[in-house]
């Protein structure tokens, strides 16, 4: 996967989003759009394609503005019916919708403000088959999330796609890892379909695991 399709609809949404930038949020948006962010999302989609995955309902954990990953997923997987971004930062909500207005209008993209480490995030009748978390370094190990999930669901067979980093320079990177294996262990994955690492343009090593 080498590129993101820049379509007229995307141009319209992104222009509206960027026009509304104000204060400190502007720097956050540019940080979320840097080269390394795109490389790691392209890598994720590439490995999903290599595994011939057919995701339907995706939960995106701590997806931030999600301006890269949502279109990348919809452009590459016809099977997807919905993507829901679970964020605890209320400040990102309106902007994250603006970047993806075209999907929101079709009811294909939602944002829910929630701390996913303290309660099962889905309602009793809600289901997801794929969980993507590209922000594992920002939170407690994913085993906790899986325990909460399994407690609220029968036969939870969701596939997990997890990324983390070895970059300890930021205070909010509270859970960096040194390898993909460590990331898989933290999540207590037992069926590993992919595990790898990649040196990003910003100098940090990114780790990714896909499994159950």
């Amino acid at each position: 996967m080498e590129y993101l399709k820049y379509t007229p609809e995307m141009a319209r949404d992104w222009k509206n989003a960027i026009n509304s930038l104000d204060g400190y949020i502007e720097k956050r948006v540019w940080d979320s759009m840097n080269e390394s962010q795109l490389v790691s999302k392209l890598w994720l989609v590439e490995e999903m394609l290599n595994l011939n995955m057919k995701p339907i309902n995706i939960s995106l954990l701590a997806g931030w503005f999600a301006q890269y990953i949502v279109p990348l997923l919809y452009d590459n997987f016809e099977s997807i019916e919905s993507i829901e971004n679970f964020e605890m930062d209320r400040n990102i909500k309106s902007l994250a919708y603006k970047f993806n207005t075209r999907y929101k209008k079709d009811d294909k993209y939602k944002i829910r403000i929630k701390n996913i480490m303290f309660a099962n995030m889905l309602g009793k009748t809600e289901r997801h088959d794929t969980v993507i978390n590209c922000s594992c370094e920002h939170m407690y190990p994913m085993s906790r999330f899986r325990e909460l999930e399994n407690a609220g669901m029968d036969n939870n067979e969701a596939l997990y796609i997890l990324q983390s980093s070895n970059d300890t320079q930021y205070d909010d990177h509270i859970n960096c890892v040194k390898s993909a294996d460590e990331l898989a262990e933290q999540a207590k994955l037992v069926e590993i379909m992919y595990a790898g690492e990649r040196l990003l343009p910003n100098g940090m090593t990114r780790f990714m695991v896909i499994g159950r």
């Binding site: 209320r90 400040n91 480490m117 909010d172 509270i174």
Partner: protein
Amino acid sequence: MAENTILCVKWGDKYGNEYVERLKEQVEKNCSVPYNFYCLTDNPTQPYHLKLPTTWNEYENGNFWAYRKFHMFAEKTVNKRHGPYRTDLEGDHFLYLDLDVIIQQDLKYFFELDMERPYIVKGWWNDIEVCKKNFVNYQSPMINSSVIRWDRGQMKEIYKHVSKNLDVLFFTYPTIDNYLNHFFYDMYEEDETLNFLNVFSEGDIYSWYKGNVFPDDMEPKKRREECKICLFNNSGEDNDTEELKSLWNT
């Protein structure tokens, strides 16, 4: 025993016993209603000292600073036929004070508040935009646990939540103020009455190092006699304890 209880928590060696003694003296001088006085401590030596439990210490990892304060919210329920609740702390109306405070006015005020919800310090000196910006990074909490006022039973929910989530809380939150800010006080909520925690009014409590009310009354290291309590909170860094001591006698 009195219905009102004033307490502090002391552990480790950052503050010596003289800080507890000095706080007790300040309370004696500035509280016109009857009260019980307790200090929860890891090293009890005085009749008013209560031993802090050590049950959570195994989670200690350098994070979640000052978690021991939560022990004061523990309440043991016993057979209701013999009394509604029983705990080591006597009294029904509680006022917690950090050791590094200067009491400037009668604490009776705090026992006369409407207690529909428990109270905590809102950092009126904070720029809310900075608090919002740093919320997700577990920094710049809008609230401050240096002074807490609650009635018996009101903080049980917080104690239970902490007890149930020890591993993830100790791992995630650098201070209890960040934790309380994430779960029990929503700074985005326009109707503050919907929050679990109430906050002391603007001008009741100010910060020696940060000011009183943002942005108009922010001069640091200024005595504001009209406020009831002065905090020496310094963002978790070492307080200038000599500065605090110099103000004890003024």
